[in-house]
Symmetry: C2
Subunit: 415 residues, 2 copies
Amino acid sequence: MALYVQKFGGTSVGSIERIRAVAEKVKRFREDGHQIVVVVSAMSGETNRLLGLANDISEEPNPRELDVLVSTGEQVTISLLSMALQSIGVEAVSYTGAQVCIHTDTAHTRARISHIDTDRLRRDLDAGCVTVVAGFQGMDENGEITTLGRGGSDTTAVALAAALKADECQIYTDVDGVYTTDPRVCAHARRLDAITVEEMLELASLGSKVLQIRSVEFAGKYNVPLRVLSSFEEGPGTLIVAEEEHLSTHNMEAPQISGIAFSVNEAQITLRKMPDVPGIASRILGPIAQANIEVDMIIQNIAIEDERTDFTFTVSKQDFRQACRLLEEQVVPTLGGELRGNERIAKVSLVGVGMRSHAGVADQMFRTLAAEGINIRMVSTSEIKISVIIDEKFTELAVRALHTAFGLDAEPREV
Amino acid sequence: MALYVQKFGGTSVGSIERIRAVAEKVKRFREDGHQIVVVVSAMSGETNRLLGLANDISEEPNPRELDVLVSTGEQVTISLLSMALQSIGVEAVSYTGAQVCIHTDTAHTRARISHIDTDRLRRDLDAGCVTVVAGFQGMDENGEITTLGRGGSDTTAVALAAALKADECQIYTDVDGVYTTDPRVCAHARRLDAITVEEMLELASLGSKVLQIRSVEFAGKYNVPLRVLSSFEEGPGTLIVAEEEHLSTHNMEAPQISGIAFSVNEAQITLRKMPDVPGIASRILGPIAQANIEVDMIIQNIAIEDERTDFTFTVSKQDFRQACRLLEEQVVPTLGGELRGNERIAKVSLVGVGMRSHAGVADQMFRTLAAEGINIRMVSTSEIKISVIIDEKFTELAVRALHTAFGLDAEPREV
C-alpha cells in the first residue's frame, strides 16, 4: 500500500466526461489498496473566464479580491470530482486550500506556502477516503484566501506530498512524460524513464513547459519523488528524482545528455567597444533590472585591444525594444559604445548530469553544429548544461543533428 | 448617519454593467455618510449552471459537495462588486460566509443560521469600509461550507441586520415594492408604503414572491425594519414593520385590507361520506404526509345525516395525481367514501391586519363575488386572512372586483 498525491490539471478536468475519467483512474488506484490525495486545477478556461470578468470591472483589480474570485475555479472542480467519485462508489471528500490548512504568506496572487496541517487529511486517508484538494490556493494568517500564481497547483501537490511523506507525487498532464526534446521538432524524440531534478530544472527553464519550475525545486528540496504522466493514456511517464538515485538506476553506459532544450523567444543585445572598467556590467544592466526586464545569458569576453570590450546579453523578445531604448537613453550617452541587437536568434541547450563525468561534450556539440554549417554566436555553460546561441532559422536542424549525435534517438519502431 | 444592510439579488448583479450600477448606488449612500453592508447573491443563472454541472456528474449529488460547489456563485459576485466599488474610489472588502463567521447548523443545502460574529464587520465599518458579504452561505462548527437554501441571501441580509442592529435592511429586487395585488392581473394595483410582518407572511405564502418567507419571519422575530425596493428605479419601496408601528403610521381610516393574493397552483380533493369518527382526519392525511405532500387548506364540516361527513383539502397541482392514488389505495378500501378531485380551482385571499377590528369583511367579500356570479366552493379564515376557493376561470375577475370593492384601487394618474 502506498500513499500517492495525484495532480490533474485544467485540461484533465476540462469537462464532465474528463472529470468522470479522472474518477475512474483514481478508483483503480484505490482498488489496488493505495491511499490517494487528489489535487485539481480549475476546469480549463475557467480561470481565464474569471480574470476576464475582473478586467471588465476594473483596470487594476485588487489582488486580494482577485484571489477571492479565481479561487472559486478550483472549488468548483473539487466538488464535482468528489461527486464523481462518490457516484462510482469511492468515498471522497473535498477541501479548499483554507479548509485543508494550506498556510501561505500574505502575497496575494503569488503567495508561497509556509506550512500545511495534515491532521485532517491523515484522518480521512486512514478512514479509506480519497481527499480532493483545491490546488493553487491557500490561506494566510488572517484567514484571507490566497493563490500561488499560475501553475500553483503543481506546487500544492508537491507540498502536500512532502508534508504527508507520500511515496510519490504524480503530475498528470496532456503529455506522457518528459522527452529528450520537443517531438514536434524531432520525430525521434524519446520519453525519458527518469531524469534528475537538476536536469528537469534546466529543461523547464529552457522551455519544456511540462512542469512548473517552483514545484520541481520544491520536490528537490524535500526529496519528493515526482512523476509526470498522461491523464489520457496508460504508461509509466517520467520519474524525476534526486541525482544519486537516478544514476544508480542507469547502467554503466549512462548517456552524457538527457535532453535538448531550445527557445526562440530570446533576443540578443550587444554593446560593442565598452570601456573595460570595474562596475561596467552593473552600469549597463542597472537600467534593465530597474525596468523589471529579466536577463538570461550574459557574456563579457576579456578586453583585447585598447581596454575596450564587447558586452552581450539576452532578453525575451517582448522586452527587446524597451531594453534597447533604455540603453540608448541611459547608457550609451555616458559610457559610449555601439548598440547592436538581433531578434532572429535561438538558444539550443544540451542538458545532462552525465556531462560532468564526460569530457568532450562541448567539443562534440560544436563539431556537430559545424558539420551542418551552423555558426555559433554565443556560448554559455553551467555544470550540467551547454547553451549556444545560433541563427533562429537553424533551430530545428541543430536540435535534430544534436539529438542524433548524442545518441538520444528512439529505436526505430517495428511496423 | 445610519447603518444599512443592502441586499442585491441575482438579477441586480447579473452582468458587469449591473454590478457597476450597484456600486454607484452604494457609493451614493456612502457619500451621504451611511455605513453599508452589502449582501449579494450569485449572478443570475450561475447557481443553475453550477447545479446543472452537479446533475451531469451525479444523479444524487452529495449535499456537502453541492454546498462547496454552489457557494462559489456568491464568492464570484462579492469579489467583482468589491473591485467595482474600489474602482470608483469606495473602500470595500469582500467576505465569504465562512470568513465573516456566519455560523450555521450542519444541515447542508438548507442550513439555519445560529449566530454571527460581527467584530470584523464592525471594525471595517468603523474604518469607513463597505463590507460585501456573500449571501446564502455560512460555515458549520466543523468549518464545513453550508448553504441556506434558495433565497437564503435575503435571510443572510436580515440576520446580519439583526446582529449589527442595523437601522434598516434593504432588499433590492426587480419590483419597486409590495403591491396590493399582482399588477399583471389588476391594472389598478397599488404599491403599499408599509405593511406588517404578519401581512407580508400571508402574502408571501400565497404567492407574492417578493421576499423569502424565512427572511420575513426572521425580520419579525428580531424586529428588523425591512424595506423592499427596486434595484433599477428610484423610489421609497415598501417598509415591512412590526404591527404597532405600522398602525401608528396610518390615519384613523386605516384600510381593512392590505392586499389580495391568489394562487392557481392548487387542486382540491374531497372524500365524500366518510365515517364521522375520532381520528378520521389523521387516517386520511397520514398517507399524504408520509409521501411528503404538503397540504394547504383543510375543511371538515359537521356531520349532518347518518354520521357521515365530507372531508376536503387542497394540495399543489403537481402533487394532485399522487395524492389521489394514495387515497384510492390506502384510504378508500378501509374507510369507504367517494373520492372527488378538481384541478381547475383558484384560491383568492384577502389579507390585512385591519380586518381584525372591522366586522363584515367576510360578508362584503361574499357579496362582491356573488354580484359577479362567482360561486364559492370552500372558505377558510385566519385572524388576518380570508381565503376562498373558486373556479379557476374566475380568478382575474374575482381579484379585480375585490380590489375595487375594498378600496385598494390606485388613484387614477393624471395624464
